[in-house]
Subunit: 226 residues, 2 copies
């Protein structure tokens, strides 16, 4: 019996990661965070829809509003504009939320200790992503050492990053293979009714579906930017 | 100019740690967490009193109530009794809050990235403490690797644990030397008006003051258990 926690934002990558966890594990617990991100309501709606779809044992939502209070990210600061063409820049984009993945993983590890889960799934993508430092393999391996040294003796928790080395197109293909319900996911950084089609996250997603040769089932304001 | 964040619970160890940071740094930012611990109101009162005393540039309080929701600790679960005689046990005590120090450090690191602080002070004690895994040197060194790999390129943040290798009596002595206002601190795990004098935390504190040869300025229901 394998018990796992899945970090599920409601985006494409975390959805495919969840689909993989469903395939590999016996008991699933889904974990979602509200942290004042601009599309928080839409992400939460997707999380609930995906929880209804996959029926985990428990679906938990944690409020992390201190991340917005701390600021420093275009994803949480209404004064900062979401960038629309920074994919080929070499600097960390302004949508980077300071130390976000570490903070999310911490809550997952704390919960895993309590419910004796042995795996945590997170849908980080290293290569074809947006240059976030906390999406890299080296970060997750370091974090496993923190888990091993900072939790109770006997705790065995490993981090699973099944899509970390895939391109976005490969993630779409893996999702299709696992019958992931893409229509219930959301990736746009700035709109909640129709995806904008121009933010970095929309461009990556639209490109991925185009390369995979199928059309993305969610609504877009425009798909001309790709 | 050294800018530092100090994790300040309001207990004796974090107070002396803060006093050390005041001595070593130029710009201080204090950080406190409410996480549904039984003496939350008293700890918060001490945090505010210590902030008035030391006058940091900013004193931030973060709500981490998900830690109580997750449960698994006598410190946050009203159904679990605070142990009164587990100091010599070899197992991790029930007051251990799952992965707490990692979660607290994460918020500090995120804030440090935003305000460009280069140090984070935390008053963890390894030897003479209660056997918590996340109070050990090995955990903090592993966490520094997570900071280095998971934050923006160019970020330089080190973790300072000035009391980690001290005995509780040495911490009292260091505090006296640094003129730390012990009367504004609180260590008891279960009471908020008079310290109980019998929980592990009270016993450690009372023993420390006794060894240092001075009396603890805070009120106790009883000091007979030491």
């Amino acid at each position: 019996m394998i018990r796992a926690i899945v970090l599920l934002s409601g985006g494409m990558d975390s959805l495919v990661c969840a689909a993989k966890a469903v395939q590999e594990c016996d008991e699933l617990f889904f974990l979602h965070f509200n942290y004042g991100q601009k599309t928080e309501a839409k992400e939460l709606e997707c999380f609930h829809a995906l929880s209804r779809y996959y029926q985990p044992i428990q679906a938990k939502v944690v409020d992390y509003y201190w991340l917005r209070e701390i600021g420093g990210s275009a994803l949480t600061d209404s004064e900062m504009k979401i960038p629309e063409n920074s994919l080929h820049s070499k600097i960390v984009p302004s949508t980077y939320v300071p130390f976000r993945n570490a903070t999310l993983l911490c809550a997952a590890v704390a919960w895993a200790e309590v419910i004796s889960a042995e795996r945590i799934y997170i849908g980080a993508v290293e290569e074809d992503s947006s240059g976030y430092p906390d999406c890299r393999e080296i970060f997750f391996r370091a974090f496993e050492t923190v888990i091993a040294t900072g939790s109770k003796t006997g705790t065995r928790i490993s981090l699973k990053t099944p899509v970390i080395n895939l391109s976005k197109a490969e993630i779409v293909n893996l999702g299709l293979q696992l019958k992931a319900p893409f229509e219930l996911s959301w990736s746009c950084y700035q709109s909640e009714t129709e995806a904008c089609g121009v933010c970095d996250s929309c461009r990556l997603r639209l490109n991925a579906f185009a390369k995979a040769g199928i059309s993305d089932p969610i609504p877009y304001k425009t798909t001309l930017g790709v």
